[in-house]
Symmetry: C2
């Protein structure tokens, strides 16, 4: 029997709609080049199966497709094969319904759906519990928010939140790229 690494049971998604802006209005945010590269490299390091970008906008989807083509088929991947290897994890989906559909089909079951937040939330699952779940064969999908975080409309299918990454301090403004790295390390590092 082939042993499945816990990372292979994990999918992550960076959600660009629906999220809050700084005035807590629901918006769609722009996809940024660096979020794609940084989080893909981290996901590849930890053996995550897929890194989904959720954006409903055609122009954003086209932009990502062009960027991926440069690295996966074009000159980028020839010059930097490690970057190509990371970006092979990336997929674009138009909305959360399509995300859930893709992951459920790949897993042949519904994954545990976890959201992230910089604030304390009522329903959280500790990192240790999720870590044990992955180690025990339970697939999971983590939603990361952009801009000022996931809007309530994004939470309909969410089972629980991961705890916020903070030190009891007063500062909760981690870049999503750093939060993704810390979360994957807490869930998957040996």
């Amino acid at each position: 029997m082939v042993e499945t690494q816990p990372g292979a049971l994990l999918d992550i998604a960076l959600v660009h709609y629906p999220v809050f802006n700084r005035r807590r209005e629901v918006i769609g945010s722009a996809v940024t080049n660096l979020d794609i590269h940084d989080i893909a490299r981290t996901a590849r390091t930890y053996g995550v199966r897929r890194y989904y970008l959720v954006t409903p906008y055609d122009d954003q989807q086209t932009l990502v497709a062009e960027l991926l083509a440069h690295w996966l088929e074009g000159r980028g991947g020839q010059l930097n094969p490690a970057r190509k290897e990371a970006l092979e994890l990336v997929r674009v989906v138009p909305d959360l319904a399509a995300l859930y559909d893709r992951v459920r089909t790949a897993r042949q079951q519904r994954p545990l759906v976890l959201a992230t937040s910089a604030r304390k939330q009522p329903l959280t699952k500790d990192f240790g519990v999720v870590r044990q779940g992955l180690a025990g064969g339970q697939p999971a999908l983590i939603l990361l928010g952009t801009a000022w975080g996931l809007a309530p409309e994004a939470l309909a299918e969410v089972d629980a939140f991961l705890p916020p990454i903070e030190l009891g301090g007063d500062y909760n403004h981690l870049p999503v790229r750093a939060a993704a790295a810390i979360i994957l390390d807490r869930l998957l590092a040996r």
Copy 2:
């Protein structure tokens, strides 16, 4: 007695010279805007005392000074006070000698100097050991490399390496921004 948080005993430095390029030649790399912002925000989250940028180049130093002025004295900090708070940790030094001098003066003792590497190194100190040291009052300074990592010329005053962040896998191309986040979390999270 005021209890010192472990993060307050930690300084980090992002080294732009001397580092390797992809052909393992010693070069000076360019300071990037995102390394400044992301690592400052992570450092602020974990209560790190200072985040030093080491670059010998006048034009790079000027660029950083302009960027910091925008956020610390100009419009940026008014619009986004959290960003200002993070960037207040940043200092620029021309070389490692100046870095050690500054930290030694602030600490009134020589800190434990730790380097980071994506490869296994002969002399490493485990995260748990460094974590205990910080909790016990031992100041430490962590050198993070840019480009393809710290060149041997950067290691003269280094006491030990932190272990590489990898999962026994074959992929060791984490962004330095992600590595910094994971290292601080391993050393300072409660």
